[in-house]
Amino acid sequence: MYQGKAFQYGDNVDTDVIIPARYLNAPSAEELAKHCMEDIDVNFVKEVETGDIMVGGENFGCGSSREHAPIAIRASGISCVIAASFARIFYRNAINIGFPILECPEAAARIKKGDTVTVDAESGVITNVTTGEVFHATPFPAFINRIIENGGLLPYLVKKQEGEAKLTSILHLSRETASAPKSWRVPFVFSKRWAKSMATPSISPRILPVVVPSMLAESLCRRRP
């Protein structure tokens, strides 16, 4: 559960305003965070507090593929981003680094700057505490929550390696991970046949936790009318 005050921005918030290219050579996430959003909101870095929530309109994160964008937002203290829709690479990147984002056009339209908002990423319930309004975003499949809990795609993959032939054949687990308790090592059973079967809308969420997330992150993106 995340709670904080909302920073509201409009449609097409691009990666150049999230973190301008002139700072892309910054050596750390903390350094990036100092310049987050500065080209459209110079006060953002002064006002943001840990746990706060960013809200955007359509096509949030459009433009460059820079993973620095979700990295900078997260390092600024923002706990999650709510938008009407996300640009595809930003969406993939956010999930891949384990940063929660929620697609909810209604919430994106109704939440105002400074409103206190709570987000339950697991259920997708967004509450505007200031106004009492409650919204429902498409909830993350359980596996995406696991990615986020594990800190991103690769840490997640590392913990899931055993049982997945293709990846394990070339991945040498780090000492720390290799010595992880057996119970962490959920067998990786995704196959092409499953991939086909999962394309149907009737897929049970129960089988999702074994799937690598980036593709499914994409699948969560709302189709535009």
Partner: protein, 422 residues
């Protein structure tokens, strides 16, 4: 049910006979790409995950093009990280200062990518290679790391918008005008998550450089990829460059498209995108005379030899207007050398242009042409977001090389047809 061209390439690389929009697939990658901005992040992720080797050193391309030649110590450190990684794994396609080019001009030129390939790159303009009849899409650094380690990645099969091109260009109109016009029509998220598949008799009218420009900016409409059919021009281009097996995929006659757009090349006028979105398009005649401070001719969108020739033809015997800086950046060493051999370099310098070694520099406001508050540029680049080329109060107008060169001479947004004879 029929498949689009994109869907056929995805199916083939996933070892499937059929896919449809919405399917989730695992596909093998032919090339994984990164640059000096995105590779260091990927290296960090790769190392932290404990990977000890790359899937295939011949199928990874690392191109140091964004801040090079390094603009400062921080950039030098990023390049050092990428360089050391390339050295550690003996990466075959590693390009550094002196033989580097802007990645999306360089990879096709070197024959690293070709028809039928499946490519991911940690740079949003990776979609450029669709011009060659390849599936090619931009991803982030973590995806790059996963791709380098495993040689595979996961994709959701996109639906498609069919863009049918008919007719022939009128003078001073080129591929840039086609893509700006299209983005103006459908918007910056008009193709979100979809393929843009270009078809029709008008495709034959386009040079390969036109096609690269068009596919390059597919991302500016939100598209996952942009793709052209393979024809004689494609095969001529890859001949002598691309040494792997050429695989030609064609859309089925009954392929399903979500939307169809027809563009009549005859009706296109030189087009620009005003600040601050690529979709904010006007024809040049609507905004002619708008004062400018800078012109940039180059980038992964328009830094190829045809672009240089078009610009030089206009600048020949003319001078860049007083109080305007015109920066010309051939996209690769090969294009640069060609500019020297053909006398284009001399034309640019005589006209008063700054002629630079290949770099992405000014396109992303990195270096080599950042702007001050209140300044405005006409650029052949691909984005005109707030602060893209420097100060947050500077402005970028996107245009073709012809319009950019004419604007440099006029000192204001101009169509080449407005210039006096020389």
């Amino acid at each position: 049910m029929g498949m689009t061209m994109t869907q056929k390439i995805l199916a083939a690389h996933a070892g499937l006979t059929e896919v449809k929009a919405g399917d989730l697939i695992e596909a093998k990658l032919d090339i994984v790409l990164g640059n000096d901005v995105t590779t260091p992040v990927a290296v960090d992720v790769f190392d932290k995950a404990g990977f000890q080797r790359v899937f295939d050193k011949d199928k990874i391309a690392i191109v140091l093009d964004h801040y090079t030649p390094c603009k400062d110590i921080k950039s030098a450190e990023l390049c050092a990280t990428a360089r050391n990684f390339a050295k550690r794994f003996d990466i075959t396609h590693f390009y550094d200062v002196g033989n580097v080019g802007i990645e999306h001009a360089l990879l096709p030129e070197k024959g690293i990518v070709g028809p039928g390939d499946m490519i991911i790159g940690a740079d949003s303009h990776t979609c450029t290679y669709g011009a060659l009849g390849a599936f090619s899409t931009g991803v982030g650094s973590t995806d790059m790391a996963a791709g380098m380690a495993t040689g595979e990645n996961w994709f959701k099969v996109p639906s498609a918008i069919k863009v049918t091109l008919v007719g022939k260009f009128r003078p001073h109109v080129s591929g840039k005008d086609v893509i700006l016009h299209l983005i103006g029509l459908i918007g910056v998220d008009g193709a979100l998550y979809k393929s843009l598949e270009f078809v029709g008799e008008g495709v034959a009218e386009l040079t390969m450089d036109d096609r690269f420009t068009i596919a390059n900016m597919a991302i500016e409409a939100g598209a996952k990829n942009g793709i052209f059919p393979v024809d004689d021009k494609t095969l001529d281009y890859v001949k002598g460059r691309f040494t792997r097996e050429i695989k030609i995929y064609e859309a089925d006659a009954d392929a399903v498209y979500e939307q169809e757009v027809v563009i009549d090349l005859n009706t296109l006028k030189p087009t620009v995108s005003l600040p601050h979105l690529p979709s904010n398009t006007k024809t040049v005649d609507e905004v002619s005379g708008l004062a400018i401070d800078q012109v940039v001719i180059g980038s992964c969108t328009n830094g190829r030899i045809s672009d240089m020739r078009i610009a030089a033809e206009i600048l020949k015997g003319r001078k860049v207007a007083k109080n305007v800086r015109c920066i010309v950046i051939p996209a690769t060493q090969e294009v640069y050398m060609q500019c020297v051999k053909e006398g284009l370099a001399e034309i640019f310098i005589e006209a008063g242009c700054a002629l630079s070694t290949p770099t992405c520099g000014p396109c992303l406001g990195g270096h080599m042409g950042c702007m001050a508050a209140g300044e405005r540029a006409v650029a052949t680049t691909n984005r005109n977001f707030v602060g893209r080329m420097g100060h947050v109060k500077s402005e970028v107008i996107l245009a073709s090389p012809a319009v950019a060169a004419a604007s440099a001479v006029k000192g204001a947004v101009a169509c080449p047809c407005e210039l006096e004879e020389v």
